[in-house]
């Protein structure tokens, strides 16, 4: 795993007015710093010069209309775009000051530090226990005796333990949608990541299951840096402390969530969150 660099140098003012809020927001230190990140799919540029600080121990929400680049940017953070042919990422993304695109970084190990939860729950066709244990096994992170404890702790942290404790060896796909999504979150946190990326984690869930996931996100933020892409403005407002608005591949505005939803600076943000386009 990469060696963490010493304190990241402060090199001049950041882009946009992104940092007007982070200083005052009740959140942790900057965990992820993106500088001039651009993404190309072949000839087509999907993301333009995104510079953004993402604080630790907090939830940052990415909002914007479909095709605005928010999921593309999210996928840059754990190098998921590496797996897409013809996709090219430029610019710099630092995790705790270290460049994640450095040649010496193994993307598989990076993804253990930066976990991801997708729109549709995607449990492996294995038992509930094996789903959570899977990451630990492939990374060789636990021996047999530790395994059971970590699986239990992860399921507890994901708020699923009480519902599945008596059927750990049944298939994960037999769970409800909301339970499956919490199982996937348990799988993500089993390998002790530092960052959890969530790409519309509730869009396939009913309101009750959504509320449970949101409650879980709120609990998890004390230990993790969470980045969530959501189409629901209300969800962004409910769960995040910082919000970034993307439009047509550009980061338009980012700041404290409460300010973004009461007094956005940019008229495009205003138009989007009030339902005037998009």
């Amino acid at each position: 795993m990469q060696t963490k660099l010493a304190a990241a140098p402060e090199d001049g003012p950041m882009h946009l007015s992104i940092d007007r809020a982070t200083a005052a927001a009740p959140v942790g230190e900057i965990k992820i710093t993106a500088k001039d990140v651009a993404v190309f799919y072949g000839e087509k540029q999907a993301l333009f010069d995104v510079s953004l600080d993402i604080p630790g121990n907090s939830v940052t929400a990415f909002i914007g209309p479909s095709g605005c680049g928010k999921s593309t940017f999210l996928r840059c953070i754990n190098r998921m775009n590496d797996t897409i042919t013809g996709c090219r990422v430029t610019g710099r993304i630092e995790l705790d000051g270290g460049d994640i695109n450095d040649k010496k970084i193994d993307p598989v190990l990076l993804r253990a530090r930066v976990g991801m939860v997708f729109q549709k729950p995607n449990p492996f066709p294995k038992s509930i226990f094996e789903n959570v244990a899977y990451g630990l096994r492939i990374h060789g992170l636990a021996n047999k005796t530790e395994m059971g404890d970590i699986v239990e702790a992860s399921l507890k942290r994901a708020g699923l333990w009480a519902e599945v404790a008596d059927r750990l060896h049944q298939s994960g796909s037999g769970l409800s949608g909301g339970q499956q999504q919490r199982l996937v979150i348990a799988r993500a946190i089993a390998v002790s990541p530092e960052v959890i990326l969530m790409d519309e984690p509730c869009s396939a869930l009913d309101p009750i299951a959504t509320a449970r996931i949101e409650e879980l996100i709120d609990e998890l933020r004390s230990q993790y840096c969470i980045v969530i892409v959501t189409h629901s403005m209300a969800q962004a407002a409910r769960v995040s402390q910082k919000t970034a608005f993307f439009h047509m591949g550009k980061l338009v505005e980012a700041g404290r969530t409460d300010e973004m939803f009461t007094n956005p600076r940019d008229s495009r943000t205003q138009d989007y969150i009030t339902g005037r386009f998009g």
């Binding site: 403005m233 939803f261 009461t262 007094n263 205003q270 969150i273 009030t274 005037r276 386009f277």
Partner: protein
């Protein structure tokens, strides 16, 4: 401003603000008429002002109901949220203004019983006209989304206070000179105080309009000449 994708939402917001503006016009008329009733010793006009106050109360209730419904069903955000909450707050201030105008009208009915005190009435009239002008100006700022105008109203808050303080001294002089005028002077003093409060409500509305348009509070300290000790 770009229109909402959902047209009925746009209509609801516009209706809310239009009703608030209409209520503002009625509140302004109530203040102007109550003042007129005092100056002209017009009992009929005074009674009309008193009976019309119910309309303002009903309008406030209606605006509040609409705003709550809009918050529940549309979940307004950003400037829409500020406009919705602003309409509720402005309606509340206007309702209070209506109550104060009604109280002025009631006192004018008592004043008719006493001898006219022309110089004092002139002072009340000057102060009242200034207050009505401020109220009109802030309501224009609201309907025209004119932040400069709102700031202008807000920053001249002290003019009304100066009038009030000088009227207070004037009234004291009269009461000390002739105790038979005390009843009438006491009523005039309350009328002046009511006008001063209406001025304060106009200032509140200016602050609400400013927040609604800019999203920022008025940060500067409001000029204040509060020299009660001087009286």
């Amino acid at each position: 401003m770009t229109e909402h994708t959902v047209k009925s939402y746009e209509d609801e917001l516009n209706t809310l603000m239009a009703e608030c503006a209409r209520m503002g016009g009625q509140a302004e008329a109530q203040v102007a008429d109550s003042l007129e009733a005092v100056v002209r010793r017009d009992q009929l006009l005074a009674s009309t002002v008193v009976s019309r106050d119910e309309k303002l109360d009903a309008l406030e209730a209606e605006i509040e109901r609409k705003a709550i419904r809009l918050i529940a069903l549309r979940q307004p955000l950003a400037n829409d949220l500020r406009r919705t909450v602003g309409a509720m707050k402005i309606a509340h201030n206007l309702e209070r203004i209506g109550d104060l105008a009604k109280n002025i009208a009631k006192r004018s009915l008592v004043l008719v019983e006493a001898e006219p005190m022309t110089p004092l009435t002139r002072s009340i009239e000057r102060m009242g006209r200034l207050v009505v002008a401020r109220l009109k100006s802030v309501l224009d700022a609201y309907t025209g989304s004119d932040v400069e105008r709102a700031i202008a109203v807000w920053s001249r808050d002290d003019e009304v206070d100066e009038h009030y303080n000088s009227l207070f001294r004037e009234l004291l002089t009269y009461m000390m000179a002739d105790p038979r005028t005390i009843t009438a002077c006491a009523h005039l003093l309350f009328i002046a105080k009511n006008l001063e409060r209406i001025g304060d409500h106009a200032t509140n509305i200016a602050e609400i309009v400013h927040y609604e348009i800019t999203g920022e509070d008025m940060t500067a300290v409001r000029p204040k000449t509060d020299d009660l000790t001087a009286a």
